[in-house]
């Protein structure tokens, strides 16, 4: 599954979002965050993001430190902006449209459903619950289970 998604995209995304790679893999199964991001920001930008992450890790930084390095605008503003856009995309399912870059859009209902925001608040997207009848009588799972 998702043979086309490079591992580095997942480790980078995990470091940027704070969610586990497993959660991202599940999301990626219905919403192709990788391909859509590549379409909107270009293969070059994406390759640069992954490369800069990988080399920072290669120099002995933790994934979190490597992510912080990419997000540092004083280093490379374009790259930092792309990294921020990737975070927004994972959390909200929202990305700039290729037709009109000034407009943010949600590519499909699956991106809405898989947005990490819902998990961050230990909830589920409106109208797309996987819970069973009566779930509201029990407390939600721990935050750590949602990550």
């Amino acid at each position: 599954m998702n043979a086309h998604v490079p591992d580095t995209f997942l480790t980078l995304s995990s470091a940027l979002t704070g969610f586990t790679e497993e959660t991202l893999i599940f999301a990626q199964q219905t919403a192709d965050f990788y391909a859509v991001f590549e379409g909107a920001y270009g293969a070059d930008t994406l390759a640069q993001l992954m490369q800069s992450f990988q080399s920072a890790v290669g120099e002995g930084n933790s994934p979190q430190q490597a992510a912080a390095h990419i997000l540092d605008e004083t280093q490379d503003k374009t790259l930092a902006e792309a990294a921020r856009a990737l975070i927004v995309f994972w959390y909200l399912g929202q990305i700039k449209s290729t037709a009109d870059p000034t407009v943010l859009h949600i590519p499909s209902a699956n991106f809405f459903k898989q947005g990490l925001t819902w998990r961050a608040i230990q909830a589920h997207p409106p109208a797309a619950s996987t819970q069973q009848f009566g779930y509201w009588t029990t407390p939600p799972a721990a935050l750590s289970d949602f990550l």
Binding site: M1, I25, T30, F112, Q131, D145
Partner: protein, 435 residues
Amino acid sequence: MSISRVARSGATIGFCAAVTLGLSGRDGLAQTNDVSLAPDMPADVIAGNPIGNYEDYNIYSWLSFVALNWPVGENGQPDVNSIIGQNGDNSTVWETWMEDYQILVEDGEVPPTWQAPRAVPPVCGNTKAQSGPSRTIRHVSSKTGAVVSLTNQADAGPLIDQNGNYVRYEILFNEIMYNYIVQNKLYTLAGLSDISEINFPAGASPFGNEGATEVKASWKILGKGDDPSRFHVATSYVYDQAENTCASEMLGLVGFHIATKTNSAPQWIWSTFEHIDNAPDKGNLNTNKHYSFYSSGCLDNGSTCKANQLPEMPWNPTQSGQTPVQVVREAQINGTTTRINAHFQGALKAVNPHSVWGNYILVGTQYPQKPSDPTDPQGRPFPPYLANTTMETFLQGEVPTSSSSCIGCHSGATASNSGKPTDFTFILSRVTAKD
């Protein structure tokens, strides 16, 4: 190889009729002896990594399909001295199982004993059978309303084939499920209220040797343009409860769902098979092949034949010559599945080139990737969407909550008199007997 098998009591696994498959490719599967045509149900898939291996689940599905369609011998047991399809077609193990309507009894009645002969509705008694119908296709629907009927799909409407005939649906379950339902009196509203949690056996239990298994089959009436030698065929009474009509028809199996509860899959494993003549893939419509549910001519004459649209109302299965539904398969079958299909079809055709069973393909297997995820009681199903063109015709696609997910929809099944989950089966959503 990470599929375990269950031994039927009194039968050994290493029977001589096994046909060995030459599956090559991934490591584990090179041990060919495990992937053979056999009458034993596979017991479970041992998940190889956190999210499981799709190939193993698809092999599990095929092993189940072969075991359930094995020639039936005494008492509904597989006949271990014959091989599936050796004479082209054969009557099968699952067709001797209990039908849903047999346990959906009236007030005060008890379900028949396991393997008791099925009662034929009186109106069918007047029908001349071609060769002794093997059973009656019918559903009980009139009392609880819209959940199910003889011809309506779940949450949708009927499928009409190219000859203008309605597809019929049938639901059956194994002895383990039967024992669990009967011993807990789940065929009554009182029984459904009394039980604290409905939890069907997932493996060997006091109710029997295997896990609970249920099937849903779709049948088309074989008629003009259909070649009966390509189908698994059953001569059946087709009974329409609302109209109180009955006809003896030759039916061809066009779709087959299997759901089995296992220890690794408390959300059950969901397999779905189809006949290869059902409908073309969306991306491959320029075809002159004869399909049961698709006409290329329909496209040529520029008429309105939008794919996968519910037929016009009113729906009446007893009326013939209605406008067919134009069906296409929205999602191409995954490459892993296609490869496994080719292997099993090859093995079935090696037994007999005219084996009808070689004309069926697995569309996919939905299983929980993370069965005990506290954030998702559905266990993160993979693939997220799965549909059979004859059973979820109108729910194909990839739209959250409305497109077909077997686990997604079945996890919402509740007892007919409360919100109590029925452990993924809709059979208990249609119980009406008080006690």
